[in-house]
Symmetry: C2
Subunit: 394 residues, 2 copies
Amino acid sequence: MLYGNALVAQSGGPTAAINATLAGIISAVSQVSAIEILYGARNGLEGVLKDNIINLDEYPWNDDKLTLLQSTPASALGSCRLKLPEITNTQPYYTILETFQKYNIRYFFYIGGNDSMDAVHKIDTFMKRINYDIRVIGVPKTIDNDLMHTHHTPGYGSAAKYIGVTMQEILRDAAVYTIPAVTIVEIMGRDAGWLAAAASLPRVHGDGPDYIYLPEVVFDVENVLKDIEDALSRHPNVVIALAEGVKTPTGAYLSESESMDAFGHKSLSGAGNALERVIQKQLHCKTRVIELNTLQRCASHCASRTDIDESKAIGMDAVRVALNGISGEMVGADTETSTVPAAQVANIVRSVPVDLINDAGNNVTDEMISYIMPLIEGEVDIQWSQGLPMYLIF
Amino acid sequence: MLYGNALVAQSGGPTAAINATLAGIISAVSQVSAIEILYGARNGLEGVLKDNIINLDEYPWNDDKLTLLQSTPASALGSCRLKLPEITNTQPYYTILETFQKYNIRYFFYIGGNDSMDAVHKIDTFMKRINYDIRVIGVPKTIDNDLMHTHHTPGYGSAAKYIGVTMQEILRDAAVYTIPAVTIVEIMGRDAGWLAAAASLPRVHGDGPDYIYLPEVVFDVENVLKDIEDALSRHPNVVIALAEGVKTPTGAYLSESESMDAFGHKSLSGAGNALERVIQKQLHCKTRVIELNTLQRCASHCASRTDIDESKAIGMDAVRVALNGISGEMVGADTETSTVPAAQVANIVRSVPVDLINDAGNNVTDEMISYIMPLIEGEVDIQWSQGLPMYLIF
């Protein structure tokens, strides 16, 4: 058994479930005698590099506080967008080592997406090379649901539930007027369409949006305009879900369509705004763009019970796996052992498979809905105070 | 006692509580022997003018269904944006009369904002002039909270709660990175700042956004940039709540700042985007614009219990008042009798009073928070099915 202290950090974009994973790690570590102290790094690897470390054991944890942490949105320890260099450039790795040595860190849990798995792989490789005995475990989280070797990712279920709930409300809102209008709902997802696919969920109660355009399908504006005209001929209120990452036949992001401000400066606008300009010009139709924006990743008040429970369990599993001697791997994989080498997840995107997209390429199949449904099941108990949810902030 | 049938219709922008008012009217009318049948007009006055009328008594109402209706977002009967002409142009009024006569309508309940109160006043005046015996009652709803002679309006509490809950989540999300960044949250309100003011609510649990800019205060870009620089000198993550209706010293909407698309066409953008362009140009700082958009008015999953209960009670009160012989008035007023002539509400905006805005004009006072707090109190019981809220749609 490897004795020493543990360090946990959070990285990449926040999710509504990333603190549930932290709660799982805190809970599991407290039951392990091999780990004496659990430290937290502020702002992911930034905190490790800058020795911005807090002692998490000093916080008076109990079940209520862990439950409150689970329903606190965004990364309670802060986050970063830091890409480690190749390990031939040893300088940052020695800085990380200094922090590990200073706090006698023998277990490092890094909660993040595919960039973070790259960090896990590199830190593990470096520490093995210099014979520093440590278990480096990647713990997945991303609303994007795009990690290789996973069935789904912690954080996705809550984001999908928020998108489903919100899309249901937008569909009701859009239906009230008789004037022909196109509502474009822009949903996150630069490379993969899993989040936009969740816009289909209202179909379980009746109708979903008219069309869903994913980054996996070439976005041909002429075809899209034909789709919209066709829908407008059937009913006045057309609703479209649009992934921010849809690309035109040239391979460019639709969002790269440029607009110029009054001073002649070019400014990038979103995919929704770009599509809006085309619709207004070609169809002379009333339009509205709704960007779901960061709320997709931080709407804890609308989190999925299933996602929160799973995210916590994956945190606990990370501790179990580390104690078993594993290092350089990511937990939560769809393998028998639940782990997979972090290098196999790093920097790769798991796209939506073609068979979950309809033949016309403008919607998802019912199989996609069957895939998402179990992930959004259940609601969390929010602790309300003075009309607003309570959070745990430290 | 006036015997006959009743007609109800919904108008203007949807709210999360407008169907609670409809539920109140349905519930109250069912207990009144003077009213035989309750009809509903589809799409407000559009349905009255086009004889698009449904018999609401044919729906199998019970307590469960009324509760489900209460938590269904947007206008269940549909809505319209229809402005009646002066009654010297009698043509539409005679068309309305035809519908009233065809269905023997003796009670007309119009749920809406200040445009709708204009319609209530005009229809009442016309029907009195031609001696058609009918009670025309205005029933207030607007998320804008800007109706004269009210303490607050049905629909505002739920919108304010959504803004408070969402702003809390955005503040957590914005806090995770160490890179200086300005997050601009654009909130509805062309003329009044009540909705933007609700962005202050997270202060009850700690900190709210750095600044809140309301339409009631002249938006001087130079001063605002100084505010932002000052906040950035204190912490990296600056969050601003911006009412869509803020106006520059020339009196123009900030949102009227023009941008040009790639083809040289001018296009209007929102206030948030306009401010973002200025910040990027002058402060060279990372920015993000989050428009809360229509979700402010349709997020039933996050409605205020107080608002929903009050909205239902006001619907019931409308029936009581009508049976007492009142006509041409709006219920829900802050008077002893709860009513006020609709003409005194029509087409006027109730602005945020100066004493609820801080001296610097860039935030609201604690008195404003004390005013809003009771209105967002309590949560509604959502009926979930397959991970999503259930609605009543007819």
